[in-house]
Symmetry: C2
Subunit: 149 residues, 2 copies
């Protein structure tokens, strides 16, 4: 049984007993992102509730997968590619990422972008874009300028 109450520490935007990790192991097409797992899968909630934080100027991986994301921005602001559209996102906005939708989050230059992201415990591995995918995404000049493959 995990502890029932984990206090938040605003100074580090972190939680008691929750480790701040790299976004993904190793190098990859992402910059300056950390990950904290707030609730691990358990019992009738076979999902992971994570907090990701993108440092100023950073970005998450441009990827897609069969599994869904339910995202709530909770810190700062930035931009997101979702379903082929660029969106300015800010604290407490909701973003639903449906299956096989290319997505990427970028923080602004002036501050971090932090968000909760819910996923199923059992999920497929993300796919990275190939040349044809990138060409299709880049058909929109604003998207071409935004993405960091």
């Amino acid at each position: 049984m995990p502890p029932d109450h984990r206090r938040f520490d605003a100074d580090r935007f972190g939680w008691e007993g929750v480790e701040t990790r790299l976004y993904k192991a190793g190098e990859g097409p992402w910059r300056d992102v950390t990950r904290q797992v707030l609730f691990a899968p358990e019992g009738d909630l076979p999902v992971e509730w994570r907090y990701f934080e993108v440092a100023p100027g950073g970005w998450t991986t441009l990827e897609r997968h069969l599994h869904r994301h339910a995202v709530v921005i909770v810190r700062g602001a930035g931009r997101a590619l979702v379903m082929g559209e660029l969106r300015a996102v800010a604290a407490f906005d909701l973003v639903a990422i449906p299956p096989l939708s290319w997505h990427q989050f970028r923080a602004g230059e002036d501050g971090p972008l932090g968000f909760f992201c819910l996923v199923a415990a059992e999920r497929d591995r993300p796919q990275l874009p190939g040349p044809a995918d990138l060409a299709a995404l880049a058909a929109d000049p604003a998207v071409a300028d935004f993405i960091r493959p």
Copy 2:
């Protein structure tokens, strides 16, 4: 497919296209609580992500059930009964409510208490405390003073 991006409106602590409802239908052992469903169950995320807000001086139902809650406080502060203990909770604290644990959230008198609460889409109905349950809870004088059955 739901809209992929719902903007937050800080003035009403609400979201585009999300209805603010009563906490539960009809009268009951709770006071001044509203509910907004941010993400309904869908596909590989058969869970509901809700936002509850307890107005100053209000409280949620004192109840227990087999299903789990994963809770993140996101607005204000208050107190919670979890696993027989009273906890002062404040924005971004995590609270895990395991099966069959009596729980109740109360806002302070000076401001609301708002929190995200994740539950499984399929779940059992809450149980209310009977006289023996209340007597057991009231064995701790602080809990006796806190609960609003």
